[in-house]
C-alpha cells in the first residue's frame, strides 16, 4: 500500500505500481484522456504529483516516439486503474517499468474523482507521495513539511539543458529557442516549417542571443511560478524590440511580465486537452491543450499589449501581442501533445510574422 498525504490533512491509500520511495510535490490534475506518455515526459510537470482524471491509464504502454523530453520530471502519478497488460504495436515497455526507471512514485486504485473534486474545492495543494504504508507519526511530520511546499525557482535548472545545441541544422529560418523545460513537439513543429533552431539554456544572456542574428526568439513552456524568474524576465526585456519574440505557456508569462503585466496563481490551473479558446480578433474558437498553474492578469495589461485569445471557460487571458515590438505569445500549447492540433496553425502565423517583422526591425 502506498500513501498520498495532502496539505489539507487528507491521507489516501493506494497500490503502488511505480518506483519505491517518497517525494513531496504540488498535487495537480489533468483531464486529458489520452497521452499519458507525453504528459509524463512534459517538463512543465516538474515537481508535481499528477492525478489523472481519466481512470484507465497505461493502455498503450510506452513507445519510443511519443516522448516530450528525455525523462520524467513529475514526482508522482495517481490513477484509478493501471492497465497491467499494455497493447500497442509500438509499445516497448509497460508504463510501470518506465515509471520505475524514471523514479516516479505511482499509485493506483485511488478514488481520483474525489481527489479532483477536492483540488477544485481547496485549490492546488502540496502533497507527499510514497510507495510505503506509513504510520501516523510519519504523516504528522509530513503535514508540517508539505504545508509550505513550493516549486522553487531552481526547477529551471533541473528541466533546462546545460549547453546549447542545434536542432534541424539544415533549416532555413534561424530561430533561437530558450529552453525553460521545452517540449520536443515545439521543436518538431518549428522544424516542419523549415526552421533551424538553436536551443539555449534557461540562463542564457540576451546579449549572446542578439549577437547571433536570429530571425526570432522562441520562449518555451516550463514549470514554476513565472514571477520568480527575475533574471529571465530581465534578459527578455533586453531583447524586446530588437528581435521578434514568441512565447508559449511559461514563455508567454515571462513575456507578459517583461512587458509590465502581472501574473497570478490560478486556484487549480488548466490542465487538459479540451480548453476552448476564442480568437478575439476573428471570433474563431479553438480547442487547445493546456498545462499551466499561473495566468496573466488581464486587467494589468499595459496599453501596448493587445489581448488576442481568451479562455471561454473562465475568461482568463490566453494570448497577447505587441505588434510594434514583434511579440506574440499564447498561454496554451499550439504544439499539442497531448491534445488537439487545432492551434497548430499558430506556428504558421508566427513563422510568417517572424520573417515580416525581422525585415521591419532591420529597416528601422
Amino acid at each position: 500500500m502506498g500513501t498520498l498525504i495532502l496539505q489539507d490533512g487528507t491521507v489516501i491509500k493506494g497500490e503502488s505500481f511505480g518506483a519505491i520511495g517518497g517525494y513531496e510535490g504540488e498535487v495537480v490534475f489533468t483531464t486529458s484522456f489520452c497521452g499519458y506518455q507525453e504528459s509524463l515526459s512534459d517538463p512543465s510537470f516538474a515537481r508535481q504529483i499528477v492525478v489523472m482524471a481519466y481512470p484507465e491509464i497505461g493502455n498503450c504502454g510506452i513507445n519510443d516516439f511519443d516522448f516530450e523530453s528525455d525523462r520524467c520530471y513529475l514526482r508522482g502519478l495517481i490513477v484509478k486503474n493501471y492497465s497491467k497488460q499494455e497493447s500497442h504495436y509500438q509499445a516497448k515497455e509497460t508504463l510501470a517499468n518506465y515509471l520505475i526507471k524514471n523514479n516516479v512514485i505511482a499509485l493506483e486504485n485511488i478514488d481520483t474523482r474525489s481527489l479532483v473534486k477536492k483540488i477544485t474545492k481547496y485549490g492546488t495543494m502540496g502533497g507527499f507521495i510514497t510507495s510505503n504504508d506509513v504510520d501516523n507519526d510519519f504523516i504528522k511530520e509530513k503535514f508540517e513539511e508539505i504545508r509550505n511546499f513550493k516549486i522553487e525557482e531552481d526547477v529551471l535548472d533541473e528541466v533546462s539543458i546545460k549547453s546549447r545545441y542545434v536542432f534541424n541544422p539544415q533549416g532555413k529560418i534561424n530561430i533561437a529557442l530558450i529552453d525553460y523545460g521545452n517540449k520536443k513537439s515545439t521543436l518538431n513543429e518549428l522544424a516542419k516549417r523549415d526552421c533551424r533552431i538553436t536551443v539555449y539554456p534557461y540562463d542564457t544572456e540576451a546579449k549572446e542571443i542578439l549577437e547571433n542574428k536570429f530571425d526570432a526568439v522562441f520562449l518555451s513552456n516550463g514549470p514554476g511560478d513565472p514571477a520568480n524568474y527575475k533574471n529571465q524576465i530581465l534578459q527578455i526585456r533586453q531583447m524586446m524590440g530588437k528581435i521578434p519574440m514568441f512565447g508559449i505557456c511559461l514563455g508567454y508569462q515571462l513575456l507578459a511580465l517583461a512587458a509590465g503585466a502581472n501574473t497570478y496563481k490560478l486556484k487549480y490551473g488548466h490542465r487538459g486537452a479540451n480548453h476552448p479558446v476564442i480568437n478575439l480578433e476573428n471570433n474563431k474558437v479553438m480547442i487547445t491543450s493546456q498545462n499551466h498553474g499561473y495566468s496573466v492578469d488581464m486587467v494589468t495589461l499595459p496599453k501596448i499589449m493587445r489581448p488576442t485569445y481568451k479562455n471561454l471557460n473562465d475568461n482568463t487571458l490566453e494570448g497577447f501581442e505587441i505588434t510594434s515590438l514583434g511579440i506574440y505569445a499564447v498561454q496554451f500549447h499550439p504544439e499539442a501533445n497531448p491534445g488537439p492540433e487545432d492551434a497548430n496553425i499558430i506556428f504558421d502565423e508566427w513563422i510568417n510574422l517572424a520573417q515580416k517583422d525581422m525585415n521591419r526591425i532591420n529597416e528601422v
Binding site: F29, T31, S32, F33, C34, G35, Q37, E38, A53, Y54, P55, E56, N59, C60, N63, F65, D66, K80, N81, S83, K84, Q85, E86, S87, H88, Y89, Q90, D111, T112, R113, S114, V116, K117, T120, G272, A273, N274, H275, P276, I278, N283, K284, V285, I287, L312, N313, A336, N337, P338, G339, P340, E341, D342
Partner: protein
C-alpha cells in the same frame, strides 16, 4: 447569432422503428423541439410513428401523424409555410425526404430553407462518388473502391483488386443490402441485393479492410467554423461488423495520443470540407500495426452514435445541433450542465460500454452472423469507473437469463471445438471468447483468432480471473469488494462461492453513486445524472439535499422503472409511458427518479426526471438506488415487461409497488389463478389445459377440438406459439417441444378464429376510463403487435361494445387495477371471450392517448397517487368516439434479418408501427399502407397466390376482389385448381420455379405475394423460400388473407384517384365526420 427571421420550423421525424433507426430519433426530435420552443419558434412536426414522444401535442405546436413521403410533406409545407426545415434530426428517413423535397423544387417554391447542414453538404456526404472525390481533394485516405450500378462493372472491380470486398449500397438504412463477399458467388448475391435495395440503384464496392480498428468521432460544427469533438468511440469488434452490431467503448482505449489526434484532425478536416452545421459522425478504420487509416463513412446528421455519445458524456448533442441550425454559434450557447459555453469538449472520468440487443432470442432460426448489415434492434449502455466494471454491467444490462460472461453453454464444448467456433462472428462471440479464456488458452492466440485487441481480451481475462479467484479462495471482505468493483452481482458471487446473501451483507459494502458531468469534476456541475461504483465517495446525498433546499416544502420521491433496450415486443411506446409518468410525478409535486439502461431514449435524458440513474435493469442495481433514494414507492407499470419482471423481486425486498398490486399482476400471469378469476366473474375464455405427454395432448384435443393454439410453458430456444389444425401438426409440435424438455408441460388452448378486439383503460380501482376500442384486421392468431388495427372499431355491435366495457370494468375492480391495463378479446359467433389481461402500459397507450386526446399515462399516475379518475375530466366508462379513424400498421425489419420467415404468427415479429389517420376508414387504411412504405401503381402487375387448404375457402371473396381490381393472378397448383373451380382465371406456376419468380421480383414484374404458410418451421419449405426472396427484393408478401384484403381495399382508394388531405392530429379529433369529404 440567432436568425431572427425564423418564426416557424418544420421538423421531420424518422418514421417507424426499424432495425437501424430506433428510438434515438425520438430523443433527438424531442430535444430539437424543446430547443426551438426555448426560442419561441412555432414547430410543425411530421412523423408517421405514433408511439413517439415528439408527436405529443405539448412537444410541437402542430403535430401531423401522416405518411412521410414527398406528397404529404409538400402538402403540409403548402399549408403551413414554414421558413425553415430541420432534416438532420430524423435519421436517414428525414434526410432522404429533405433531398427529395429539394430535388422536386418544393423548398424553392415555398421558400423553405434547410436549417443547419444544407442539402449540398448532405449529398456530398451521402453520395459515394461525390464523397470519394471530396476525400481525395482534401487528402483523406479512402479505401480503394468503385461505384457501380450493375454487376458487370462490379465484376471488373473484383477482378482488379481481389476478394474480400465490401459492398455498401447508397442511401440505405443501417447498411441494408450490404455485406462482405469472400468469393464470387457471395459477391454476385450481395451486389444484386444491394442494387435492388438502394433507392438510386447504386452500390459501392470497396477493398475490405476487415480487421482494422474501427474508431468513430462525434463532431459538432457551427457556421463560425468552430469544430468540437463530443467524444470518440472505439469498436471492440474490428472492422467487418457494422458499428450498430459492435460492442463499443467510449472513449477509445487502445489508441496513443498521436493516433487519436491524427483521426481527430482528419474528422475536423472532413466536417469542415463538408460544411456541416450541426452534428456529424465520422467513422475511421485504423491499422493495428501502422498509422495507416481510412475514412469509412460520415453521417451528416444526428445518429445512433450521436445519441450514444450524448448519453456517454452528458453533452446534449441534438439540442445544441438545433441551436446551431437556428444560427447560433457554439460559443454563444450555454452548456446547461456546467453553465459554461457549449464550445468545449467533454472530459469523462469513467468508461462507457455499449452492447447491441439482437432479436435472435425471438428468431431462433435467424442468421446470427454479423457483418456490414445491422441486425440489432436496440442497445444498452453501461457506465463504470473502469472498463471491467462497465463491461460487466453492460452484459448484465442485456436482461438475459445469464448475467455473467461464462456458463452460456460453451463450457460444454471441447476446447478445440470452442476455438474453431471462435472464428464465427456472431452475437455470442464475446461469450465464446470468455469461455476460451477461462479454459486457459493463450490470449495472443485468442486475439489472432478474433482480431479483438489484446487490451480488451486482457480485460475480459481480468473479469474471468476474478471468477476463478472467487472459486478458489474463501470469500473475505477484500475479495468481495474486488468482485463488486468488477461488477459482479451478489447473486453471482453467492453462487460461485456458495455463500448466502446474509454473509455478503455482513461485509457491509454499499454501492456509491457518481455523477456524469461532462467535465470530469473540473467545474462544479449540478447534473442529476448518476451511475454506480464501489469504494468511492458518493455524490447523490449532497445532490438530494441541495435539491430539497430549492423546494418550498420537502418532496417525496418515486422511482420510475424504464424499459431497457428496444427489442421486438418492447419498443419505444414504453419509453413514451415512462417519460410521461416521470413528468406527471414532477407536476404532482414529487421528485421522479428514472432508472434505465437504454442510450437511445428520451427517458435517459438527464432533464426528464428529477434524477436519472443509468444502470442495468437488474434487481440488485435497482435496490442499490432504492437504498439511496428511500422512495415512497416504485412504478413498474410503465416500463414494459422489463419493469414488471422486477416487481416480484422488489416486493420480496419489502419495496412498495405503487398502483396495481403485485398480487394482481401475478394473478393474470398465473394461468390457473387467471382462469379461476374469469370463471368467478362469469367472463368466457377459450378453454385450455396443460399436457405432459403426446397421449395427453391427443386426449386434450379431443375435448377442445381443432384448431388449437399450442405453446411451451417454458420458452426453449425461442420456440413459441403455433396454431395447429390436425393431429399431424400437433404431434410434430409436441414431439419437438418434448425433445427439448419434458419437465415443462405444453399448453394447449382452444383457438378461436374470430374477430380480435383490444382496449386500453385507466382505472383507479373503482372507476374505469376506456379511451376507445380497437379492432384488429387480421383474425385472431396473429400477435396483437403484428396486427393491423382500427380505431374506432368498425364492426362491433353496440351490444358487444357494452359487454366489452362490462368485462373490463369487472376485471379492473376485481384486480383493483390502479393505473393502466390492456385487455384483449375475441368475438366469435357474437360471443365475447377474454384472452389476455395486461395490468400495465401496453403498446397502444401512446396511440390511444393521441387519437382521443386523453393523456392516459398521466391520468394513470394520478390514479396511482390516489386521485379519482373522475376528476381527470374525461368521465368514466367508454369515452366518446373521436371523429377520426386511424389504422395502425406494424412495420417489420425483414430486410435486415436473413432466414426469418415473415409469416405472421402468434409470436411478435414487428419492430415498429405507423398510423394512418383520416376522416374515413378507407382513407386511413390507404394512408397506413402509404406510411408503411407500400407502393401503389396504375400498372397492374402479377400477383402470386399460394394458399394452404385451411385458408382457401375463407380467401374466396378476397381473391374475387383481386381479380376484379385488375391484377393478374399466378397461383400454385392447389390454389390454381381452387380458383378454377370458382371461376377465377389464373396462371398455374410450379411452386419450385423459384429462380423464375426471383427474376420477376427483381424486374418489378411481381406486385405482391399472398401466401398463407403451411405449419412447421421448415426452412426448406417452398413458401418460406418464396417469402424470403420477396423480403430481399422488397416485394410485399401477405401471409394473412385479411392483410391482403385490407391492401386491396387500400388499392381501391388509390385506383379511384382519391386525393389525400393532411391535417394535424388536433384537428382530426375535432373534425365532424360528415361534411369533411372532399
Amino acid at each position: 447569432m440567432k436568425d431572427k427571421s425564423l418564426k416557424k420550423v418544420l421538423v421531420i421525424g424518422s418514421g417507424p422503428i426499424v432495425i437501424g433507426q430506433a428510438a434515438e430519433f425520438d430523443y433527438a426530435g424531442v430535444q430539437a423541439c424543446r430547443a426551438l420552443k426555448e426560442e419561441k419558434i412555432e414547430i410543425v412536426l411530421v412523423n408517421s410513428n405514433p408511439a413517439t414522444i415528439m408527436t405529443d401535442e405539448e412537444i410541437a405546436d402542430k403535430v401531423y401523424i401522416e405518411p412521410l413521403n414527398l406528397e404529404s410533406l409538400t402538402e403540409i409545407i403548402k399549408m403551413e409555410r414554414p421558413q425553415g426545415l430541420i432534416a438532420t434530426l430524423g435519421g436517414q428517413t428525414a434526410l432522404n425526404l429533405a433531398c427529395e423535397l429539394d430535388k422536386a423544387g418544393v423548398l424553392k417554391e415555398y421558400n423553405v430553407r434547410i436549417l443547419g447542414t444544407n442539402i449540398e453538404s448532405i449529398q456530398k456526404a451521402e453520395d459515394r462518388e461525390q464523397f470519394k472525390n471530396l476525400m481525395e481533394e482534401i487528402n483523406i485516405p479512402i479505401p480503394q473502391s468503385e461505384i457501380v450500378s450493375n454487376y458487370q462493372d462490379a465484376l471488373k472491380f473484383s477482378e482488379k483488386i481481389g476478394f474480400p470486398i465490401i459492398i455498401r449500397p447508397a442511401f440505405t438504412l443501417g447498411g441494408a443490402g450490404g455485406g462482405i463477399a469472400r468469393n464470387e458467388r457471395e459477391y454476385e448475391e450481395i451486389v444484386h441485393s444491394g442494387l435492388s435495395q438502394s433507392p438510386i440503384n447504386q452500390v459501392l464496392v470497396e477493398k475490405s479492410i476487415a480487421g482494422y480498428k474501427e474508431i468513430e468521432y462525434e463532431v459538432i460544427r457551427d457556421a463560425n467554423d468552430t469544430c468540437i469533438i463530443i467524444c470518440n468511440m472505439e469498436n471492440i469488434d474490428p472492422i467487418g461488423i457494422h458499428t450498430g452490431d459492435s460492442f463499443v467503448v467510449a472513449p477509445s482505449q487502445t489508441l496513443t495520443n498521436p493516433e487519436c489526434e491524427m483521426l481527430r484532425t482528419s474528422a475536423i478536416k472532413i466536417v469542415r470540407a463538408l460544411k456541416i452545421e450541426g452534428s456529424c459522425n465520422v467513422q475511421f478504420a485504423l491499422d493495428t500495426v501502422s498509422n495507416q487509416y481510412y475514412i469509412i463513412e460520415v453521417n451528416p446528421r444526428v445518429s445512433r452514435s450521436s445519441a450514444l455519445a450524448s448519453k456517454a458524456t452528458g453533452y446534449p448533442i441534438a439540442k445544441i445541433a438545433t441551436k446551431i441550425a437556428m444560427g447560433y454559434h457554439l460559443h454563444e450557447i450555454k452548456n446547461p450542465i456546467t453553465n459554461k459555453c457549449a464550445a468545449f469538449e467533454p472530459a469523462i472520468d469513467y468508461v462507457v460500454v455499449k452492447i447491441p440487443k439482437w432479436p435472435f432470442d425471438k428468431f431462433s432460426s435467424g442468421d446470427r452472423i454479423l457483418g456490414t448489415k445491422m441486425k440489432a434492434t436496440g442497445e444498452i449502455m453501461a457506465i463504470g469507473r473502469t472498463f471491467v466494471s462497465s463491461f460487466k454491467k453492460a452484459v448484465t444490462s442485456l436482461e438475459e437469463r445469464f448475467t455473467g460472461l461464462l456458463y452460456r453453454g460453451f463450457e460444454e464444448l471441447s476446447n478445440d471445438a470452442l476455438l474453431s467456433e471462435l472464428y464465427i462472428q456472431d452475437d455470442r462471440r464475446i461469450f465464446r471468447l470468455a469461455q476460451a479464456i477461462y479454459n486457459g488458452n493463450d490470449i495472443n492466440r485468442l486475439c489472432a483468432i478474433t482480431k479483438i485487441d489484446k487490451w480488451f481480451v486482457a480485460k475480459i481475462k481480468e473479469i474471468v480471473d476474478v471468477e476463478k479467484e472467487l472459486k478458489r479462495a474463501p470469500l473475505n471482505r477484500t475479495m468481495y469488494l474486488k468482485a463488486k468493483q468488477f461488477g459482479f452481482l451478489d447473486e453471482e458471487i453467492a453462487k460461485i462461492t456458495q455463500t448466502t446473501y446474509e454473509t455478503l451483507n455482513k461485509f457491509n459494502i454499499e454501492a456509491n453513486f457518481r455523477a456524469v458531468d461532462t467535465c470530469a469534476a473540473e467545474f462544479s456541475a449540478h447534473v442529476p445524472y448518476f451511475y454506480s461504483t464501489y469504494n468511492e465517495e458518493d455524490e447523490v446525498e449532497e445532490f438530494k439535499q441541495q435539491a430539497q433546499k430549492t423546494y418550498k416544502k420537502p418532496k417525496e420521491n418515486i422511482i420510475v422503472l424504464g424499459s431497457g433496450p428496444i427489442r421486438i415486443g418492447q419498443g419505444i411506446e414504453f419509453d413514451y409511458c415512462s417519460v410521461h409518468a416521470s413528468w406527471e410525478l414532477i407536476k404532482r409535486g414529487y421528485e421522479s427518479v428514472m432508472i434505465n439502461s437504454n442510450p437511445e431514449t428520451l427517458s435517459t435524458d438527464f432533464d426528464v426526471a428529477t434524477r436519472l440513474y443509468f444502470e442495468p435493469m437488474n434487481v440488485e442495481y435497482v435496490m442499490n438506488i432504492i437504498k439511496k433514494e428511500n422512495p415512497k414507492g416504485v412504478l413498474v407499470q410503465f416500463g414494459g415487461q422489463t419493469a414488471i419482471n422486477l416487481a416480484e423481486k422488489l416486493h420480496q425486498e419489502g419495496i412498495k409497488i405503487l398502483g396495481t398490486s403485485l398480487e394482481s399482476i401475478n394473478a393474470v400471469e398465473d394461468r390457473k389463478v387467471f382462469e379461476k378469476l374469469l370463471r368467478e366473474l362469469e367472463i368466457p375464455q377459450p378453454k385450455g389445459c396443460a399436457v405432459t405427454s403426446t397421449t395427453g395432448a391427443l386426449n386434450a384435443v379431443k375435448e377442445l377440438g381443432y384448431p388449437v393454439l399450442v405453446r411451451p410453458s417454458y420458452v426453449i430456444g425461442g420456440r413459441g406459439m403455433q396454431v395447429v389444425y390436425n393431429d399431424d401438426e400437433l404431434l410434430t409440435y409436441i414431439t419437438e417441444a418434448f425433445k427439448f424438455s419434458n419437465e415443462h408441460p405444453v399448453l394447449i388452448d382452444q383457438y378461436l378464429e374470430g374477430q380480435e378486439v383490444e382496449l386500453d383503460a385507466v382505472s383507479d380501482g373503482r372507476d374505469i376510463l376506456i379511451p376507445g376500442i380497437c379492432e384488429h384486421i387480421e383474425r385472431a392468431g396473429v400477435h396483437s403487435g403484428d396486427s393491423m388495427s382500427i380505431y374506432p372499431s368498425q364492426n362491433i355491435s353496440r351490444k358487444n361494445e357494452k359487454i366489452l366495457v362490462k368485462y373490463a370494468t369487472k376485471i379492473a375492480r376485481k384486480l383493483n387495477i390502479k393505473g393502466l391495463m390492456n385487455i384483449q378479446f375475441i368475438i366469435k359467433d357474437d360471443k365475447v371471450y377474454v384472452i389476455e389481461v395486461n395490468p400495465r402500459a401496453s403498446r397502444t397507450v401512446p396511440i390511444m392517448s393521441k387519437v382521443t386526446g386523453i393523456p392516459m399515462a398521466n391520468i394513470a399516475v394520478e390514479a396511482i397517487l390516489g386521485k379519482s379518475i373522475r376528476r381527470a375530466g374525461f368521465g368514466v366508462g367508454l369515452y366518446k368516439k373521436s371523429n377520426l379513424v386511424c389504422v395502425k400498421m406494424p412495420i417489420f425489419s425483414w430486410q435486415k434479418l436473413n432466414r426469418i420467415d415473415p409469416a405472421l404468427a402468434p409470436e411478435m415479429k414487428s419492430t415498429g408501427e405507423v398510423l394512418g389517420i383520416d376522416t374515413t376508414y378507407k382513407k386511413a387504411l390507404y394512408k397506413a399502407f402509404l406510411a408503411g412504405g407500400h407502393k401503389f401503381s396504375k400498372a397492374k402487375q402479377r400477383v402470386l397466390v399460394s394458399l394452404n387448404d385451411h385458408y382457401k375457402k375463407p380467401a374466396l371473396p378476397m381473391l374475387k376482389k383481386l381479380f376484379k381490381q385488375g391484377f393478374f393472378i399466378m397461383a400454385t397448383w392447389g390454389t390454381h385448381k381452387f380458383l378454377e373451380q370458382n371461376g377465377i382465371p389464373s396462371k398455374m406456376i410450379e411452386k419450385f420455379m423459384i429462380d423464375k419468380l426471383q427474376k420477376r421480383m427483381k424486374n418489378g414484374r411481381l406486385s405482391f405475394i399472398i401466401n398463407t404458410p403451411t405449419t412447421g418451421k421448415n426452412s426448406q419449405n417452398a413458401g418460406f423460400q418464396i417469402r424470403t426472396i420477396a423480403q430481399m427484393y422488397g416485394v410485399p408478401s401477405f401471409t394473412s388473407i385479411d392483410t391482403a384484403n385490407a391492401f386491396l381495399s387500400a388499392y381501391k382508394v388509390f385506383d379511384k384517384n382519391t386525393v389525400l388531405t393532411y391535417d394535424t392530429i388536433t384537428n382530426y379529433r375535432k373534425k365532424k365526420f360528415l361534411g369533411m369529404f372532399k
